[in-house]
């Protein structure tokens, strides 16, 4: 054995353009889809309305799905109970908004936004707390077994839905949007609903905040590393169980926020609304790449746009558009658009 290390200084080579573009292809999917929409939709104003509507829907699904994809990626937990947090968030948020009727009914944007902020805060606290209890009582005993997770979280979902019936009754609740968020603004001849523009803004803020935390903080570093190899994160000195619980609580709270947004979008809430959205959420989480927040964001926007364009072009097509989209994307990228590396 020689002591002196031989010189083998590494050199960097420039990859071909196609190789360099490859990771960015999913990012290009959303603008490409918007351009395709522009080309196939005969009226420019309809295209603009549908695009904003699709982006708003996508953003709301992203807010709901982002927590779920992190929970799956980091904890390898398939949580069918995620829908319960959406419903609970919607009911808690709606209760607060109804209680703050004077603020929501006032023609003041500030008061309206304050009322929504109060509703969102209450919903996120309640669903975050529910997430903590759910993780401890229901999910923790079944770590490592997907089949048991599916069964037990489905059970948790049913219990949570029944709790909603007990607390709020079996009837659906109608919730009007705050005064200044009703109606639409006209831009380039297109009617753009004010609330949808707000939803796009909130979704963007959540995405940027999540990205900031994941990419620029030590906590984010631990979460990203934990998604790939939780055992090694522990061996480096970080208590991954605490991170698991934190992510589960944050994911549940985001579902609560999404629930409030969805409630104001639909203007009516039911106990099983979360369960109904979960089909879209699963599609988004799968096509985005399990565990990837960026993939989830692209997937959600894609789903929102495709659904809106398809419904306009051929209403019956909307029924299968998302499943068809999932099939097409998985044929293109079987691990999803932004696959997450997992340690063997």
């Amino acid at each position: 054995m020689t002591d002196a290390a031989p010189s083998h200084a590494p050199t960097m080579t420039k990859l071909p353009l196609a190789e360099r573009l490859r990771p960015w292809l999913p990012v290009l999917l959303v603008p490409v889809l918007i351009v395709v929409g522009y080309l196939i939709i005969p009226s420019q104003s309809s295209w603009l309305t549908l695009t904003v509507s699709g982006l708003a829907m996508g953003m709301m699904i992203f807010v709901i799905a982002s927590g779920m994809t992190l929970v799956f990626g980091l904890m390898d937990v398939i949580n069918f109970g995620h829908g319960a947090f959406i419903s609970f968030g919607a009911f808690v948020g709606t209760t607060v908004l109804l209680a703050l009727g004077q603020m929501t009914g006032a023609p003041s944007l500030l008061l309206n936004l304050l009322a929504i902020a109060g509703a969102v805060l209450a919903a996120m606290i309640v669903t975050g707390g529910m997430g903590w209890a759910f993780e401890r009582a229901i999910v923790r005993p079944v770590y490592g077994s997907h089949l048991k997770q599916i069964l037990v979280t489905m059970g948790g979902l049913i219990v949570a839905e029944q709790l909603i019936y007990v607390i709020w009754g079996g009837h659906e609740i109608v919730i009007a949007r705050p005064e200044t968020l009703k109606g639409a603004i006209t831009f380039a001849g297109a009617a753009l609903e004010k609330y949808r523009l707000v939803a796009v803004g909130v979704g963007l803020i959540v995405f940027l905040a999540l990205r900031l935390v994941l990419r620029r903080t030590k906590l984010g570093l631990i979460v990203r590393a934990g998604v790939e190899n939780p055992e090694m994160v522990q061996a480096l000195g970080y208590n991954i169980t605490r991170v698991f619980v934190g992510v589960f609580i944050a994911g549940s709270a985001l579902a609560g926020l999404g629930g409030v947004m969805w409630a104001l979008y639909q203007e009516v809430i039911t106990a099983h609304m979360g369960n109904e959205i979960m089909i879209l959420v699963f599609i988004v989480v799968i096509i985005g790449g399990l565990g990837s927040v960026e993939g989830c964001f692209i997937g959600a926007l894609t789903v929102g746009l495709v659904q809106n364009y398809a419904a306009f072009m051929e209403p019956k097509l909307a029924l299968i558009s998302n499943i068809a989209l999932m099939v097409a994307i998985l044929m293109w990228r079987p691990m999803g658009m932004v696959p997450v590396v997992k340690a063997k």
């Binding site: 054995m1 290390a5 590494p10 055992e231 522990q234 061996a235 590396v341």
Partner: protein, 240 residues
């Protein structure tokens, strides 16, 4: 021998229905390199993982600096001062080289002096500092894995087969860095199949077979006795 930095007393570990460690007794001296040698399946990796808390022993005691660490989780054990380089390197492929190193610095940011030493030992890590660790070659990943363990001073380093599957040139680079670490007074427990590397680095040796320590002694003693090597490890040795 002065008080060992690490002591294992009658450690038994099962994995699923298999009994892997059958009562390991081992003292790891302070400020020296102890080589854990033995045939494949002897229980070397299981011993390191058991010390690290990644597998729980069902019997026996593990003492780090005189304090019990069995029963603690891996994070607590790491924070007691153990740096770990696993057999599979444990690199986070989606993170950059910089992020891998930063994550290992429990105090926050890597110490500049330590970083300079890492770059001197492994120039490739400076070149690929901002690249995703998944794009590194096998040798560079191993360098990163070692660099991550040594980014801060630790009481003890557990290193599992750093030369596995690497070209001789890369092994030489790793050997130089590990020798440098040893010269800084580090305590190291290292599993290694490459006897040349083990000879070059080791001060003490513990040989395992069938989940037990079957021989301990100095590397000088083992290296000079080919008959002993053949008896303990089935090595038909190269000349010294």
């Amino acid at each position: 021998m002065s008080d060992p930095i690490l002591r294992l007393k009658g450690v038994k570990t099962d994995i699923a229905q298999y009994h892997i460690l059958h009562g390991v007794d081992l003292d790891v001296p302070r400020g020296a390199v102890t080589m854990l040698l033995g045939r494949n399946g002897a229980g070397k990796t299981t011993t390191l993982r058991t010390i690290m808390g990644l597998w729980k022993p069902h019997q026996g005691e593990i003492l780090l600096d005189g304090a019990h660490i069995n029963g603690l989780n891996p994070a607590q054990i790491a924070r007691r001062g153990i740096g770990f380089v696993p057999e599979d390197m444990g690199i986070f492929s989606d993170l950059t080289v910089e992020e891998n190193i930063r994550l290992a610095a429990l105090s926050g940011q890597p110490i500049p002096e330590r970083l300079d030493w890492i770059f001197e030992a492994f120039p490739a890590l400076r070149t690929f500092w901002k690249s995703a660790a998944g794009t590194l070659s096998g040798g560079q990943k191993q360098m990163l894995s070692v660099a991550r363990a040594v980014v801060e001073d630790r009481e003890l380093y557990l290193i599992d087969e750093p030369s596995k599957g690497l070209a001789p040139a890369i092994v030489a680079t790793l050997a130089k860095a590990l020798k440098d670490l040893k010269n800084r007074g580090a305590s190291i427990l290292m599993v290694e199949q490459n006897f040349s590397l083990a000879k070059a680095l080791g001060d003490h040796v513990a040989v395992m077979d069938d989940g037990k320590i079957i021989w301990t002694g100095s590397m000088k003693e083992l290296a000079s006795d080919t008959g002993l090597q053949e008896r303990l490890m089935g090595l038909k040795m190269e000349t010294a």
